[in-house]
Every structure is written in C-alpha cells, then in structure tokens.
Symmetry: C2
Subunit: 634 residues, 2 copies
C-alpha cells in the first residue's frame, strides 16, 4: 500500500490506493479544513503534493497554475499506488504564527482579578497523613484507618474512592509505616480520594486547565503546590476535519458512531497536548490529579459523547449544563484515572463554560456595581452584560467570516494570510502585510476589517458595502452587475491566482459585525442602558487579539467609545479555568455566576431583527452613534 507522509508534521500512514488525501490526513491525525464537507467547492483543503503522484482528475476550484505547482484539493485527490509526500498549510499554533508568542495570557488579566494568596486553595489538594498501623483487635480495615486519618484532618466527611485506589491501598500503607500522601477533592459532604502515594510527595501536585474551542484547544499545566503555570500548549481541535463551526459539527454528529469519532478526535488533541506539556517538564500524566475544562456547550457535549442535536433544534436544549462529578477514566482524559474532571458550567445552548470561565477574568465576576460588557468574538459571538446585581447573556451567530469562512479568498491567520492593509485614498489600491512575510495566500479576519474600514473611510465602498463604480480605480474591476476589489494580482499571489474580494464577501463581513453589534445594543436596551453607561468592554477570544479598535469602530463592529474602555483579555476561557483549578472560591463563584445569569434567546425577541437590520450599514444607519467615524464622500 502506498505510504503518505504529511509535512511539516512528518506524520506517516499507509492507505489503500483510491483513498482520498483528506481521509489519509484524518487517519494520520493531520487537521485540514473542509468546510464544504468534501464537495470540492470551497477550495479550503488545498495541499501540495511535493513527491509522488496522486489521481487529481477532479480539479475542483483550483487554477491550472496551482495544479502545475503540485497543488490539489485533498478532498478530491485520490491515492494511486505511489508513495507521496504532502505539504499541508502551516499552522499558526506552532510555527511562526502569532499564537505562540502570545500564550502568556496571564498578563492580560488585571492582577487584582486573579486569585489572591488567601484565595489560593486548589480543588485537588495533596496532603500527607500518617495512618496508624493495623491492630489485632481494633476491628478496623486498612480503609477504616485510612478514612479516619483523613477525617482527623478534614472533619466528618464521607471518604470515598475507586476500586483502583483501593487496590493499591494495603501495600502503599505498608511502604513507609503508614505515611502516605493523599490526593483529594472535597465535595459538600464527601471527600474523593484520587490517588494514594507512599511517603511525602506533596510537592508534586499538578493540575491542568483546558480550553476546548471549536477551532483551537489549549492546555495549561499548573503546579497546584504553588499555583504556578508551568507550560501552555495549544493545537487545532482534531474535530476540524468534521466541520468548521459548531453547527456543522452537530450535523456531523447525527449518527452515534460519528459522535464517538468526534469524541475521540478531541480527546486525541487534548491528550496529545497533555503529553507534550508534561514530557517537556519531566512530569508524568499520572501525576495530574485535576482538570478544569471549559468550552462551549456543543464542545462539552462532544467531549462527553452526548447527542448535541437538540442544541441546534428549537427550543435549543442541551442535555446537561452543570457538570456531574466525572473522573478522567470516564471522560477519557489520559491523566491519573481517578482524577476529577471539572467542567465549567454552561448557561444555555450557546453560552457555554468558556463564557462562565471567561467572566472570572472580568469585573463582571466581582462585586462591582459598574456595568460592564463582555464580548467573545469567534464563530459564535457571546455577549454578557451586567454588574453585581444582574447578569444577562446572549449568543449571536456571527458566522465564520472573521475566521476566513464565507470569504472567497479568506483564510485563518496562518502563514501567508494578509493581516494588515493600507489603502491609498487617491487610487484605491493597497499595500498589505502577510503573516510570516511570505507571498499572500489569502486574507484573514483582521485583514478584512482593516481593508473594509480603509475602503469605507476613503470612499471606495459606501455605507451599504458596495464598491465605488463611479470613480475608476485600478483595484476595482467591474463586470456587468458585479464588482471586485483586486487585493493581489495573480502574478504576486502565492496561489498563482489573483486574490479578489467581491461584494458578497463584504456583505458577509457586514452581517457578522451587525450580528455582534446589534446583540450588544439589544441587551443594553433591555436594561434601559446605552453604550455610554458601560464602564468597560472586555474583548475575549483569539480573534480579539488582532483587532484594530479604530478600524473595528469604523465598521461599526464595536461601539464608538473611548479606546481606554476596551480591554482585551485573551483566552479568558483558559485563564478562567486556571483560576478555578487553583481556587475553590473561584470554582464556587463560577457556579454562582452561571446560576444568576439570564440567558436571552435573541431569535425570540422581535426587536432583534430591527436592531440587526439597522446595523447592516457602515458604521450604522444611525450615524450619530459613531461620531468619530467620518468617511470621505467620493
């Protein structure tokens, strides 16, 4: 059977001839986007065959130039009997991208929002106890004496443990005269024993904070002895190959065997990251006694193998929102099998644990009376507004435009993506900068926002997003009723094809920004407030990092407020998980936040459509809302 090697990861598999490259990539655990589901229409699964031959009779949307260069669509290229080497697009997460440099999320959170010294109290603690030796006539079993020793320290909790722990107990107690170190978790009335080691091993107490995003998974290894973050690693969610956004994942998950596939894919990603972080620091995965995992409601369902179908269908009901007591072995996380897997509580089908975790990184989780807004911009936009007295949350379907989806030459912020643009006001042409400084392959969300803001300010598009057909520009091509903005001519493009933006693409961006802005506006209206009443706007999520606030204001994505009111807090889902991991206070606070949050279902609010329609202009139909935005008329 032919051997397929994927670069740059050097992952290798063999597969029978006739297998598609995307199927090979899937079994080799190499993530390739395929939002169209393998129909050959989206062109996003383009890879380059650098050695060997494949059967690529179906070119799909590829141009002849690209084909000559060895590019094929992975979904349409089938193995022959030839060994092949395949180059896949490089990943921001690990090479030359932006993720890696900025992984120290801690510094994005205001110090006083982090758990304080007296709040440091990890969910899973390690405690050295001395269990008295067995006596001939005390009538006590090993477990009796062991539980009493724990109760002596902690009070009259019921002590419970798994068969696993019991199996080692008798021998472990006898290694060092009854001196053992217990890893434990306290519930209201019971103590779960997670692990028992001989002698004193209290200094080696580790936990992980995990953020499972639809696109990216991040794992943070934490020393629970001192609360220090030892390492953070992230990778693309292995489920990407089964659909880019939550809705396509939910659709994919219809059959039980596919739910099982999705479950094992995300576990593979999580477990791979655990192995990586622990191996780099000479820690064994078995030394990890607690994991706090946050993610949106769909990701949590897929992690547990629950049927997510009813999340998608009215009345949008998740199977579960508050987590049960689950162990690592049950969930499939490869750490100490009896470790507690604590899932951040969800609030609704589209406001998940990533949001309740994220709020811990904001004043919305404190007793501040000032009203704050929290926006997590991703494929779904989640918005929370409130203070110590009220909390309201909603979700809007932003769509994948900011991640390059639904844009003809759109792509994620990977190597070759145009991330910054400057438009020449006079000619309408532009200068651009790509991630990694390479030839451009496409444009990512921040590039699009920059481009459209500039085009709008300089009058090359109007407030409806239509390209200027009156003033001629070398960058604007008119073809019948259609108009295109030529970002990169074919001869300068890394794909061999011109990179062009059409008016559909622009509309997609406008719809996305309108969804987010109108959701915020509606929430404020519901509590009779305006944007001016907000004390701070927290922006969370990977996309927010590259958001140019001025340009986002020009488009009307964010309100026209003093820049100082905006605060970017990074991957707050991960940081919130970290806070919960090291502080029972924060764990309880998060549950309390989830409980008192009111979930607003936008689709049922008749005024949402009005708000949304009003926001489908640049910056807004009501220009007075954006006093600092003054476009030139051409």
């Amino acid at each position: 059977m032919p051997v397929v090697t994927f670069q740059p990861s050097n992952k290798t598999i063999t597969a029978p001839s006739g297998t598609s490259l995307i199927a090979c990539a899937k079994s080799a655990d190499v993530a390739i986007d395929a939002p169209c589901g393998g129909k050959g229409t989206c062109g996003k699964c383009m890879v380059r065959v650098v050695a060997g031959t494949v059967d690529s009779n179906s070119l799909g949307t590829l141009s002849q130039e690209l084909v000559v260069d060895g590019y094929v669509l992975a979904c349409k290229a089938l193995l022959l009997n030839d060994d092949v080497i395949v180059q896949t697009p490089q990943r921001t997460g690990w090479e030359g991208g932006k993720f890696v440099e900025a992984l120290n999320e801690e510094c994005l959170i205001r110090r006083e929002l982090m758990p304080d010294k007296w709040e440091f109290d990890p969910l899973a603690i390690k405690w050295m106890i001395e269990v008295p030796p067995a006596g001939l006539e005390d009538g006590l079993s090993d477990f009796d004496r062991f539980s009493r020793a724990i109760q002596k320290e902690w009070g009259p909790y019921e002590v419970v443990c798994s068969i696993n722990v019991l199996r080692g107990l008798a021998d472990t107690l006898r290694v060092d005269h009854g001196k053992v170190t217990v890893s434990l978790v306290r519930e209201e009335s019971r103590i779960h024993v997670l692990r028992v080691e001989a002698s004193d091993s209290t200094v080696r107490n580790f936990g992980i904070a995990v953020d499972i995003g639809t696109t990216t998974v991040a794992v943070q290894l934490v020393s629970l002895e001192i609360g220090k973050i030892i390492a953070t690693q992230s990778d693309y969610n292995g489920q990407i190959a089964c659909g880019l956004d939550v809705i396509s994942r939910i659709n994919y998950a219809r059959q039980p065997e596919r739910r099982e596939e999705l479950r094992s894919l995300v576990l593979k990603t999580v477990n791979g990251l655990i192995k990586k972080t622990t191996a780099a620091h000479d820690i064994l995965p078995q030394e990890i006694c607690n994991a706090v995992i946050s993610g949106n409601t769909t990701m949590m369902h897929l992690l547990l193998g629950l049927n997510p179908e009813y999340i998608r269908m009215e009345p949008y009901t998740p199977t579960i929102m508050k987590s049960l007591y689950l162990t690592a072995a049950e969930v499939g996380v490869e750490i100490n099998p009896d470790s507690w897997i604590c899932l951040s509580p969800c609030v609704g089908s589209y406001v998940g644990g990533d949001i309740t975790a994220g709020l811990l990184c904001t004043d919305l989780a404190t007793d501040s009376a000032e009203v704050n807004l929290f926006i997590d911009i991703g494929t779904n936009g989640e918005i929370v507004i409130g203070n110590c007295d009220f909390l309201m949350a909603c979700a809007c379907s932003a769509g994948p435009a900011f991640e390059g989806g639904g844009i003809d030459c759109g792509m994620r912020a990977a190597i070759g993506a145009i991330e910054r643009v400057e438009v020449d006001a006079a000619t309408g042409t532009c200068q651009y900068w790509t991630v990694g400084g390479t030839r451009p392959l496409g444009i990512c969300g921040s590039g699009m926002i920059g481009l459209l803001a500039d085009l709008f300010l300089t009058g090359w598009i109007d407030s409806a997003g239509k390209l200027n057909r009156n003033s001629p520009s070398p960058a604007i091509e008119i073809s019948g009723r259609n108009a295109y903005y030529v970002l990169v001519p074919a001869e300068k493009s890394g794909t061999g094809k011109a990179l062009r933006i059409n008016e559909n693409d622009i509309e997609n961006i406008i719809r996305t920004k309108a969804a987010i802005y109108s959701a915020c506006a509606l929430m404020l209206k519901q509590v009779d407030l305006t944007f001016d009443d907000l004390s701070c706007i927290y922006i969370a999520g990977g996309f927010g990092r590259f958001l140019d606030l001025d340009k986002a204001t020009v488009l009307g994505l964010i309100p026209d407020l003093p820049r100082a009111k905006f605060k970017y807090i990074g991957n707050s889902s991960l940081m919130g998980s970290y806070m919960t991991l090291i502080s029972r206070d924060y764990y309880l606070r998060q549950i309390e936040l989830a409980n008192r949050m009111t979930y607003i279902e936008l689709s049922t609010d008749p005024s949402y459509m009005d708000q949304y329609t009003a926001a489908l202009f640049l910056p807004h139909t009501d220009a007075t809302r954006f006093p600092t935005v003054r476009p030139v008329k051409k």
Copy 2:
C-alpha cells in the same frame, strides 16, 4: 494443534502439545480440583481420557488398574499431537447431585424472618416519571428537567448519574413525550440513576442475589417488582483450580497478575450463572439493576482485585470491610453497567459478608432477647452468638476435612461419594450408599461423620480415634504401628483401589470437629453462659444440609442438646442477600448487625488452646457434656 474436548460439559479448546490437561481445563473453564498445586501427590485431579492419547509417563499416585482404564492425573498428563476427549468428574451442582433438588432455600427460613409486605422496598426501584418538554426560555437542560421530575417524587435528593446514562437521556426523553421509567437507588442524600427507559417499563425490574463461596457460587434472579425469586443457579467457583481453601487462594494471589486471574475466574462463574438464569426466563442481563453480593472477606477481596495478603498475616487486616458505592462496570459484573453492586459488610478477616447476610435468616437479627448460636460449617467455621443486646463472632480454621480434603480417599459430595454408612456392631464391617448410586470413588464429609460415629458407638474406635487393635475385624488392617479401616475393597471400588481410612484421616476429622465445638464453647464461656442457655442453634452452609445431628453429636461436633433446638437454614448467605436486595430495612439492619458485632480473634485467647485440646476426644474429655452418647466398650 491438538483439540481437547471435556465431557460432560463438551467444552473444547486447542492447545500446543506439551500443555498439561489441568492447564487445558483451566483455559476451557472446566474446574478440576488440584489442592496439591500440581505436584501429582494428592491424586484429586484424576480425569479419564476416553479418546486419543496423552503423555502420562508420570503416573503420580494412580494405580495400574486405573491407568489401564484411561485415568490420568490432569496435572501430570501432557498433550501430544493427538486430539483427546477427557471425562471430568461429574458435579453435584448440576447433575444428579443434591444441590439442585434443594435449591429452594427460601423454605428453610422461618416465614416471620423474611421481609414482610411492609418491609418490601427494594434497594433499586423503578419509577415512571413524566418529564415536562423543553421550553425555549426556561433555561433548563434535559438533565435539569429530568432531575426536577425525580425530586418532585422523592424530595430534595441530589440526582447523579453516569456519562452512560447521560448519553441516552436526550433521545429517550423524546420517545414518548417525556414519559420515562427510571431505575434508581437512594443513598442518604443522593439518588443514583442507573438506567432510563422510554415509556413505562416498571414491571420489568430485576435484581440478583449472589453468594460467592470459596467452593460454590450461587446466583438468584429476583423480580424486584414483586420480590419473587425467579430462578437460582449454582456452580463451582472458577477459582477452585487455583486452590481449594481461602489460604491457598491468598497464597496464589501474591502476584498482581494472579490476583487479576482470580478476579476474572470468579467473574466468569458469576457472569456465566447470570447468563444462564436470565436466558432461561427471557430476561436480558441489562435489565438487572442491582446485585447484592455476599461472601467471605477473602472472596470479596478477590472479586474486587484487592490484595488479600494481609488477611492471612497477623494482625489479619482486610483492605476493606464496608463496601463503597460500586457499579457493575467497575466490578466487572455483566448486568446493566451502572447498576449498583452492593457488597454485604464484613466484620473481620474471617467473618465476612456471608455471615452478616446469613444472620438475617436468624433470630440474631431480630429484637429477641433469647440467646442464639449461628454456625456456618465450611472450610472455615464461623460462629456467632448473641441476642438483641450483644453479638460476638469468631472464626475457626476447620480445615477442608468435611469437604474431603486431608482425607486419603476423601472427596466432595459428588457422584460416587459415599455419603451414608452403617457399621455392623459385631463384625465392624459396613454397608454404604453413594451419591448417584454408582460404584464408590471416595467418601465425603457426611459419610466420614456417619462412619466415625458408628465406629465409635460400636467400640471399633476409641475416644482418641484409634482403631480397635484388640478385637479382630475383617474391616481393620493392622500393619506395624499403623491401622486402617477398609471401607471398600479394591474389587468393589470405582477407582480400582481399596478405599481405606487411616488414623490420620480420623485425626483430621477430630481436629475439625474440635475446632468448631471449642470455638462455640469459648464464646459461651466469655459471656458466662453454657450450651443449655441457648434457645436455638442455626446451622448454615451447604455441608449442614447432610449433617446427621445424632451422629454429629456422637462425635462431639455439636453440643448434646434436644434436636428441636437445631435449625438448618441452608445457604443463608444467599437468602440474606436476597432479603437485602428486596428490602432497604434489611439492608440497614445488616449494616447495623455488622457494626455491633464484636470480632473475637481466637488465636489471641490463651484459653482457646485448652478448650480445643479438651475437645480432641470423642465426644469430649468431659463426657458429662454428652449424656446421650453411650459408646459400647469392646
């Protein structure tokens, strides 16, 4: 590879030549005794090769006649390249024996000791609930609505379930408009959901009571809807091949992989019986939502894969005595995976859950002030004395003599075992009756007791157990300092060899009876009572069924009391498990019994040795204790 077929079970395996038949039997799951551990010295693993040839150069203890007939020692016979058919000794449990006929243990228990109508309240119940449909704005997950529906019926319990149950919940709720049947177990403050089925399936609620004996395992299938016993099945414990008694099992279990072997052997037996009982009544194992399992402390350790070593070593400490909340999946019992496996509580290393279960079948578990004695006669004798005010328990190492161990021609009460004997007073010769009416192959415990009692009463053995050397008898052979009682001459024996009892054999029986009697006597002495103060003596255990009380009194095994005071209660461990299964009251009563029982370690009581030594005579050194026993002097 040669094929080995075992008869009568018709189990077949293939194994490489050179494999011993006992290893073949083990992997074919055919139990053959091998108390000597395969050294070829005990001769107990005799089987007959009825087709094909094996390498049986090592004859071990077999006579030439037997070898000619095809008999070999399974531990010494090795496979050649020939397919073979091997006959193994027939089992009392399932064919022609006595077990089967007498499996209706229920009738042995006094009706008023069984759970009454108002005590019928199974640990695992099934309840039909109606879960309201999901609403768009109630902010409730499926699990939220489901838990509330349970709490509405049962009160403010915390509702918990496994991922398994959660995975099916969303779909099951939507099959019949929220109408579901829940299998659940109530703990103090939480309800465990074991299973959720659509619509009303409350009539199909099943549980099992299990007794795991060192020798025999019994499974009772029970309808929890009405408390009816549907079927009872028993089989030899698959661990027998690894040692006959608890001490040899503990020795065998030293290495972790052997613990795992023992664990899977007993599970195979239990699961096999579950399959048998359910299949015969068109019930699926998955419909069983609760199991109550009783067994001695070692059996419970081996079932859970715990290291039993410290049970054997002073100060005799079990890992655990009171059971944790365990699920079927954790334990490995093949019923509904989330079912609760409730283990009867143990009191000490040698007073286990079989005893606390057994006590439920006696007045010792009621509020009676009359003092009663409970004796479970097996390889270990367990004795409990008490009333509503006090409970004392002890165990004595009776040894395997009553089960045929340590007796030259001893065997279990299987086909061919001499079970009844009548000695002619004048000549000393005897008539005998075998199980199944076949040619005699050996003598079982009840046969030995009958034989010795008769020999003693007729003066052919003296009170020290020595054979009469003064009066000549055709049945007594004197050879130097040794004397033998010839039970069956070679020509009438099914083994081709004479069945003879030597004075060592007699000593073994005397030691066994002395251990039991003296333990009872010591316990009474400790509370300043005598046998005459006892209101009732309960005799439990398979052996007790065939015990001739008169003959047992002659030997001094049981006290010389009016026969009406003795009550045989059969497999009380199984019946007690049944009571617990169908009644929460009894479950709590059993825990309370275990808690208030004082465990007496005989080996630390200096006066035990005196009591024991005094009992090493027939019937006792103090003959006034046995006024009705009047042996003839020869």
